[in-house]
């Protein structure tokens, strides 16, 4: 998963994929140093954040060290300089307090004895750490300096709050998630002529930014499309509505993005269009900048990139505010979609093919029935 920082034209990339098993999705392979517990497999530490997605736990007692490893795959080394680990929901005694994050490019090291340090480079060492928190939402990322990309990463845990060598069932280590982050990944955005409609200084209740993502050849993980600008006099609220087909959303600032969580990951098919639920974003403080990104789901089967259509409305409340022209609009073409309607009379019930009927008008009435 990649998140794009439009202001700096960089992205933040999670190095690991959301695991669905120890070996999926390919080429990622997750292993651990000790016998795996069926209920708490190693890949649970790399699936998704939050204890509801399961915990990993070291299965045996009286260990002096236990390790989790991830192999990103051949040719897939990543430069990591930031990571976070989240506590499990299995008890505070299982919470790691001493650990080392290590990297390696030695083929086969991930399958070797995890207690052996041969071939591993220490990237970050924590002793009696309180950096591991219980909720991913408040997770503290740990940054460190590193200029080498590694294929293998290992979290080597040497002690827990409860004490790994004290014996007993509680003398084990557990985690709910590990996030390895590659920062400042350059992003290449193809240059496509285009502009946003209705840009310019506007005073009034609403500002309409309307754009169409036209015929753009999409390759790789990018592009994103989006709007970027700022508001001279922050209003009470910024209301975002979007009519979107086949895109996922990212919205900054982060507090605002949280309010649009229901949008993230919503994908619709190529023959549908989705009007997402609007959200009101409090801008009571001084948050003069806004960024709104959409990313086409290029991996979605059957969806041609040229099919994407995006319409965004930003409503500024209350009135009497001045909007500075929107800047940094990328990859939009100016054509607006034309809306027409088509009526079909189905024929299956009569043993016939469906019939397209030319219509000159229609009326729809809908009401709630008890």
């Amino acid at each position: 998963m990649t998140q794009y920082d439009g202001a700096n034209n960089t992205s933040t990339e999670y190095a690991t994929l959301d695991a669905t098993s120890n070996s999926a999705p390919s080429p990622q392979v997750i292993t651990m140093s000790d016998t795996e517990s069926g209920s708490y497999p190693a890949w649970y530490a790399f699936n998704r954040e939050g204890a509801s997605y399961g915990n990993w736990i070291s299965p045996t007692n009286n260990l002096s060290v236990t390790s989790l490893m991830v192999d990103l795959g051949s040719g897939n080394a990543k430069l990591i300089n930031k990571y976070a680990i989240a506590n499990s929901s299995l008890g505070s005694n299982l919470k790691p307090k001493d650990w080392i994050l290590q990297g390696s490019n030695t083929v086969g090291c991930a399958a070797a004895d995890a207690k052996n340090d041969n071939g591993w480079t220490d990237l970050d060492t924590r002793v009696s750490s309180s950096d591991l928190v219980s909720e991913f939402a408040s997770l503290t990322y740990i940054t460190f300096s590193c200029d080498t990309a590694y294929r293998y990463f290992r979290l080597r845990i040497t002690d827990t709050v409860g004490g790994m060598s004290t014996g007993g069932a509680a003398a084990r280590a557990a985690l709910s998630e590990i996030k390895l982050v590659a920062q400042n990944v350059p992003v290449t955005v193809a240059a496509v002529a285009g502009s946003v409609e209705s840009s310019g200084s506007v005073s009034g209740v609403q500002v309409y930014l309307s754009a169409v993502f036209g015929e753009v050849a999409i390759t790789g993980d990018i592009p994103y499309v989006g709007w970027q600008g700022y508001i001279q006099s922050p209003p009470v609220a910024l209301v975002v509505q979007a009519w979107v087909a086949g895109v996922s959303f990212f919205l900054t600032p982060e507090a605002a993005q949280a309010q649009l969580d229901t949008l993230t990951g919503q994908m619709v098919g190529p023959v549908q269009i989705l009007k997402v639920a609007a959200a009101e974003i409090s801008l009571a403080g001084s948050i003069p900048e806004f960024l709104f990104y959409c990313r086409p789901p290029i991996a979605q089967a059957g969806l041609s990139p040229s099919c994407l259509f995006i319409h965004l409305v930003l409503s500024l409340v209350p009135v009497a505010i001045e909007i500075v022209p929107v800047a940094s609009v990328r990859q939009f073409s100016v054509e607006s979609p034309v809306v027409t309607y088509r009526c079909i009379l189905t024929g299956a019930a009569d043993g016939l093919l469906d019939l397209i009927i030319p219509i000159s008008s229609f009326q729809i009435r809908k009401r709630v029935i008890e």
Binding site: Y341, T346, F362, I364, K366
Partner: protein, 142 residues
């Protein structure tokens, strides 16, 4: 939570050319799609209404003939919040919105939804959309 919504759909067919084919499908369903095209190329096709065909009415004038097809169908919908745009008319009652008219139909708005019009918010009980060759409007009742 879900609500039951009764849909009524009526379409006007401006010629009799397909009268026979329509009559042959008297047990069919009317399905209305909204089509989005860019540069003449169809980009999206989305179903916005569906009804079981119940009536086939033929209107004959001095020069022209037309057919009106209509029917009903009950659908199950999940209420959501929707912000109204392009509002051209509001009818107030007791300080609250009783009805709203918009120039551009919001084909995603359904009865049961919570409509937000500026600082006003109300639950939609009925929606009527009328679209012709040169006009369109949507009436929303609270």
């Amino acid at each position: 939570m879900t609500v039951s919504v009764q849909n009524y759909l009526s379409v006007s067919v401006p010629s009799m050319n397909q009268a026979t084919e329509i009559a042959d499908r008297s047990n069919g369903e009317l399905v209305l799609y909204k089509i989005l095209s860019i540069n003449g190329e169809q980009m999206q096709a989305e179903e916005i209404a569906r009804a079981t065909l119940e009536n086939i009415l033929i209107y004959e004038g001095g020069k022209n003939q037309s057919i009106v097809l209509d029917g009903y169908k009950t659908m199950i919908k999940t209420p959501k919040e929707t912000f109204l745009t392009d509002v051209v008319y509001r009818r107030m009652s007791g300080g609250a919105i009783a009805a709203v008219r918009t120039a551009i139909p919001d084909t995603y708005l359904e009865p049961g939804d919570t409509a937000i019009d500026g600082f006003n918010e109300f639950e939609v009980t009925a929606v009527t959309v009328v679209v012709g060759e040169n006009y369109s409007q949507m009436d929303i009742e609270a």
